[in-house]
Assembly symmetry: C2
Homo-oligomer: 566 residues x 2
Amino acid sequence: MANAPVQRMSQLMAKTLRDDPADAEVLSHKLLVRAGYVRRTAAGIWTWLPLGKKVLANVERVVREEMDAIGAQEVLLPALLPREPYEATGRWDEYGPELFRLQDRKGGDYLLGPTHEEIFTLMVKDQASSYKDLPVILYQIQSKYRDEARPRAGILRGREFLMKDSYSFDLEDEGLAKSYALHRQAYQRVFERLGLDYRICAATAGAMGGSKSEEFLAPAEAGEDTFADCPNCDFAANTEAIAYELKPVDAAGVPAAEEIPTPDTPTIETLAASLGVEASATLKNLLVKVDGEIVAVGVPGDREVDMGKVEAHFAPAAVEMVTEADFMARPDLVRGYVGPQGLGKVKYVADPRVAPGTAWITGANKADTHAKNVVAGRDFEVDEYVDVVVVQEGDPCPACGTGLRLDRAIEIGHIFQLGRKYADALKLDVLGQNGKPVRVTMGSYGIGVSRAVAALAEQTADDKGLCWPAEVAPADVHVVAAGKALQTELALDVSEKLSAAGLRVLVDDRPGVSPGVKFTDSELIGVPRILVAGRRAAEGVVELKDRRTGEREELTVDEAVARLTA
Amino acid sequence: MANAPVQRMSQLMAKTLRDDPADAEVLSHKLLVRAGYVRRTAAGIWTWLPLGKKVLANVERVVREEMDAIGAQEVLLPALLPREPYEATGRWDEYGPELFRLQDRKGGDYLLGPTHEEIFTLMVKDQASSYKDLPVILYQIQSKYRDEARPRAGILRGREFLMKDSYSFDLEDEGLAKSYALHRQAYQRVFERLGLDYRICAATAGAMGGSKSEEFLAPAEAGEDTFADCPNCDFAANTEAIAYELKPVDAAGVPAAEEIPTPDTPTIETLAASLGVEASATLKNLLVKVDGEIVAVGVPGDREVDMGKVEAHFAPAAVEMVTEADFMARPDLVRGYVGPQGLGKVKYVADPRVAPGTAWITGANKADTHAKNVVAGRDFEVDEYVDVVVVQEGDPCPACGTGLRLDRAIEIGHIFQLGRKYADALKLDVLGQNGKPVRVTMGSYGIGVSRAVAALAEQTADDKGLCWPAEVAPADVHVVAAGKALQTELALDVSEKLSAAGLRVLVDDRPGVSPGVKFTDSELIGVPRILVAGRRAAEGVVELKDRRTGEREELTVDEAVARLTA
């Protein structure tokens, strides 16, 4: 391949900004806009300017190389997809408002692909007929669409975004486990090459269905996920995937349940204060509607309900909070004083901390009244145990019991063992060795390519601006002409030399821009190595600066070229 | 970059078919499906299988390299676009049903980008503020969407397709001419490297607006465009862009117009036969509705009206044919006997062949009656001269008068000097050297990347199958193991050697597939060089075959490797 031409900033479409954009909340959003990498086209919809496109292409290349290395075959599917296959798997409805739906000129229903399990399944159904055609791993790198309710955080959570999605097809569970392991290794290599700090965490499967699933999380302030890791063992998991173990206790010594008057205690705080107990001694009962039907969710009074866990548990059913109107319609449900011992036919889901035998202070289903010594399994039945609480710093590690640490993170990759959900819905069989049809088992795997750019920006930026790892930087070296004609001439000359040696060069040759502005911009743009033609240009001496450490060194042009191309 | 791993056909997702798909009309559609390059996902919506994706990526790479070489900067815009900018330029409506429109969850209007003039204009408005920031050429390679009424011909005319679109921004007309010339040269290099036979033809601007425009047409049976070229000079043009010169003649000797009874002659053929004249002596008047208003279009009786030219002339107004109901509502318009001399206030548009002074036999605006000696400019006025006839084989070359040849072709590229249409609509100014705002002038340029793959297939295929030029082929060499274990071992061994030498290798190692089927498939798939490990494998002798010429030669493995890597 030919060497990339030297990119002159005097011609580059990359206007840097002194101030953060008004709508930017997170670091990567601020810096990628300020440094001229991206611009907003509409809510959650972004344009990649030349510098941003280069970084994006670098991430794409690394992902492609590592996918090719595990024998995955690259394909390209349409983004505009017909309704029928998504109808067959139920996802046309399940996706809800997150799915962009549209009609063509003939009134046919289409969607913009959020992920492509259905179409890949049909592709393999068309292409593979025998056990000899499997296993196979297929991937694509393509724009995906999700109509997020609150697109935020710049390119971290857009409505159109670039993703690598891949799908494995195997005859047996062991094959699936192997395809899964191949992906896990490939992802590790990808994120290592990109220079991302990441953790592999156990995850819930979410809307994908299926069984085993892990997330690759990049710790960052701006992340929307919270993960827990153990300071003692190697346990790490998305907090949504942590489930407390159910440990029944003996309730033999607990006196009978008893009502207690508790006027003006509609909240846990007021109740605990009025009774002089810890909030953890009380049982909080949250009412939600699951596909319109009321369900009560019980958790200890000191814990918050994680609605993500509740939604994941009931998916694909829709979960809503109850409203004023629901209480009006159900006078048996006394707001602020609900207790599981008087719920009648209302389904009761409880956290495992509300284990059989545990005793609680809870609502008595009467205004201004609670009950104490209300024992799970004695005074009320739990229809279903589900861990639905928000994990807290210091909660015991499920593996070793040590107090967990919590951190925010960005989900940059996700691997799933889907199993046969899609193969069942779309009847994907191949002929087995014995001549009988075998239902295929699948995996589905994603890397957020555009999101990885934002995650890298988040993790590597410093107070001066972006600071890219070499593998993804938009150039190998940023040459700055700090001065007049003499400096510009030297800068362009050394740029050509570096380009001829195979380096990707960005040169700041902007006329009429002060050295100070150029230095500031070079730090904002974040190419790892900066070469300045300045004060000693007449002697052929340049300054080589490390963007991260700030270390600088004066060198002759020949020395600098030798150093940079070493 | 690392060498590409050897691609084994035993693992490749590329099922070849013996028969043409039932819905396929054109050669490229048949062969690309049969050879396992593409599959239909929905009407006009295609999936690129691994072999197809490789060819597509090769075309993309060539386009990218040549765009970079003219200093164009690559960006990536969203495909999902907000309505407002397209509303501002009028294209939200003008596009009609060809535009995919949709709403997001909040009811906001969006479209799937058919081309991106508006968004690029806004990007430059955001990024460029001074004359110093121009000229600039920006490009992207991206999926585009057009809801074709009759998606046909496989990937030749899809509803989702891959396109390189670029846009130039200049201060002055001379700058635009230069950006246009740069694109013209880059396109020539692209199509030459791809191995496409093409012509550069003058074109109408169509729905883009603007002035100068040329098409790159690849002659092919399956093409939807017709172009004319001159066997004598270098004139070549899309037939829609050919305009006959207006040549007034002297009508002094023509007698006064006179009605003649012509019962039962509602068509030109019956009229000419009944009067014993050539159809070319008669004047045919077609009625159309332009945005609902009736317009008459006059052409010589022996010529067909080219509705594409009529529509292009009146665009963005909508052109429809008149209906029975229209005639009922307007008894002054006598069906089959319309003549321009009695049209009253109906606008009359005529072909330049109906020049001032020419005399015609035409309708007398009475049933069963025509008029003769009806002279243009004497007996009726032409409101507007527009060449609207279908160009015919043998029509005079506008440059030298020689009879033109006509051919079918596929439009693979299009370059436009747009001028200030979009800059005016979106108010794109930069500060000029004198400190005053200057309105920017633009060009817009497209290459159909996916369509180029189909055009290449059309032009290079032979009766055995696809036959790719080296630059775009999915592999450099197709190794065939024609035999048992011995042959397979040798094939895999030589494949590794070729791969280590940097070649892209496809090896047919499918067990249990006969040599005959493998040979047929290798010819269908169309890699330019085929290396067979067969009869003389035990001696380490292989056969090297040229896919196009069929020439074959026996060589030792070392000789074959040396030859292929030379």
